[in-house]
Symmetry: C2
Subunit: 106 residues, 2 copies
Amino acid sequence: MTTQSKTGTLDRIEHVAISVRDIPSAVAWYTNTLRCKVAYQDASWALLDFDNLQLALVIPEQHPPHIAVTRPGAQSFGPLAAHRDGTRSTYVSDPAGNSVEIMAAD
Amino acid sequence: MTTQSKTGTLDRIEHVAISVRDIPSAVAWYTNTLRCKVAYQDASWALLDFDNLQLALVIPEQHPPHIAVTRPGAQSFGPLAAHRDGTRSTYVSDPAGNSVEIMAAD
């Protein structure tokens, strides 16, 4: 999903991914506890819609926890890999080792 | 900061906090790598403005990594603690142990 920046001057955080042990129980907890809705769910990950961004729940074997930023020129950060949902991205790490996914804006 | 939901039906994620080892080097990396700006910074944490939410960089001794949701009725999740910036919140944990901060909307 690509969403136009409201300001054009700051990057948009497209989704945030956090690790969970079990997708069904995590999805049940989030949808029962908070006002969000399931955009996608399978055995290895789920994507929840919140008002201003998407929260991905992932099992650790599938993806690292990360934040994902959509931006023009994503390829300048590294070779882009194509994903099942049609997005293209590369991962970089901050100085503490946190993963940041740089998603192509087009 | 309280921001009105665009839809009224889904909760807004106000900020996401991730752990870093050193605030100045993390702030330098994020502001040099991505289009964001520093809303607050001290020795133990920093708050970065992105287009659609705020990213908090925290040292592990200060706060756990967490997502923060603003919602009416936050007190139903537990006693609210007042913070230095005027917000009031409580913390709950998802089934995997991830911290979720429930912030009062008023």
